[in-house]
């Protein structure tokens, strides 16, 4: 069972490294969107530090949206999705592997460049750690929720816009709790409770979303 998980992850990573633009484009997009804000609204450090959490989170959301197409679309076109659904393993489990790889290729790079962006937006260290932790907990939730949206819209020719319309409202709670946690950190208040709420959402998403993704795929591919 774990071998099947590993095989899917290995295959997707290998494919992604052969087509590096797929990995690099969303992360470039993320960096550029965040960089545009100081250029657009001026470089006042106090103002930037005040709005930084919102900017980074919204940019992360948009970058995630850009990358969702890759999650199942290519597999759907070349038939490997069909074959994955006919594998002698639980589809729910294989779908977890797909989402995990997606997070490795999009969520993880966002985490890795976040220190750089914190410097751009003159965040203090305490605030940065709050941002980092919310991204660490929040980006897997985005990947899981997005995967449901992709699975639902995969058979449609112009599913991209519909995907955004399904996906963005669903991510509002994550955005609210993340920015609240970062705000609390910037005022020097404890934010562990808000992180715990985010963590609860992550646990909920990990346990329920794979079933929803698998069921949506069965509906979309039939």
């Amino acid at each position: 069972m774990f071998d099947a998980f590993g095989q899917i992850v290995r295959k997707d990573l290998l494919g992604a490294f052969r087509q590096q633009s797929d990995i690099l484009n969303p992360i470039w997009f993320f960096v550029i969107v965040v960089t545009l804000f100081p250029l657009g609204i001026g470089t006042d450090p106090a103002l930037l530090a005040r709005i930084a959490p919102g900017i980074i989170w919204v940019a992360a959301l948009l970058a995630a949206l850009l990358s969702f197409e890759r999650l199942f679309k290519d597999d759907y076109i070349d038939g490997s999705l069909e074959q994955m659904m006919l594998a002698p393993h639980s589809l729910t489990w294989l779908v977890c592997a797909k989402v995990f790889t997606h997070w490795l290729l999009t969520g993880l790079p966002i985490l890795l460049v976040s220190p750089l962006l914190a410097i751009f937006l003159s965040l203090e260290e305490n605030t940065f750690w709050a941002l980092f932790l919310t991204l660490l907990i929040g980006t897997p939730i985005l990947s899981l929720l997005g995967a449901i949206g992709v699975a639902l819209t995969i058979g449609l020719r112009k599913g991209g816009v519909l995907l955004s319309l399904i996906m963005l409202p669903l991510s509002i709670p994550i955005l609210i709790f993340s920015t609240m946690a970062i705000d609390a950190a910037s005022f020097g208040q404890p934010y562990l409770g808000l992180l715990a709420l985010l963590g609860a959402m992550l646990v909920g998403a990990i346990t329920l979303a794979p079933f929803a993704i698998a069921a949506s795929l069965r509906v979309s591919v039939s």
Binding site: D3, G15, I77, D78, G79, S80, L86, P88, H89, V221
Partner: protein
Amino acid sequence: MLECKNLTCVREERVLFNNLNFALSPGEILHVEGPNGIGKTSLFRLLVGLSSPYAGDIYWQQQNIMSDRESYYQNMLYLGHKSGVKPELTALENLQFFHRLYNPTVELDLWDILTLVGLVGYENVPTAQLSAGQQRRVALARMWFSDCPLWILDEPFTAIDKSGVKVIENLLIKHAHKGGMIILTTHQDLSLPAEFYKKLMLQKPTIGEQYV
């Protein structure tokens, strides 16, 4: 044994076929025939459980295939119109993946398989750069190491050259001799021994039954 009982397939309110009944026993090859658009591919997608029938049931070893998908899929190999081969991976990487995910218990040397399907020398080329026939061969190579008794092959000979078709025919005969079951569609005439070769002609429903 694979059994279909009163199978009806409906697409966009149009009945493709209705009350289809057939059974496939070990050692039989069933060739599904019919003109384009009659519902061969739709039938195959029902048989593998990718879509669900409008009416009727499909049984594998007396078990409804929808009730225990995983054990059915352990026994079934499906090759459809879309090959399932990843274009950015090489032939060898694709086969490694198929081997480890679908038939991990079969011991084999993938180089032998590459030799058999005539892809030695191309093993390190991304499949996207291979010709249509060679890409098809990568997908078909799975038949050489599959230990599944039931093969469901939708147009397996597309883009395959004459000698390749001959090789695959022999493989099908060998599989049937071992007690395997094969369902396939193709528009080519096959020269298979009559003792285990059956044909099923899909019929258009009568005018009165065409719409639901």
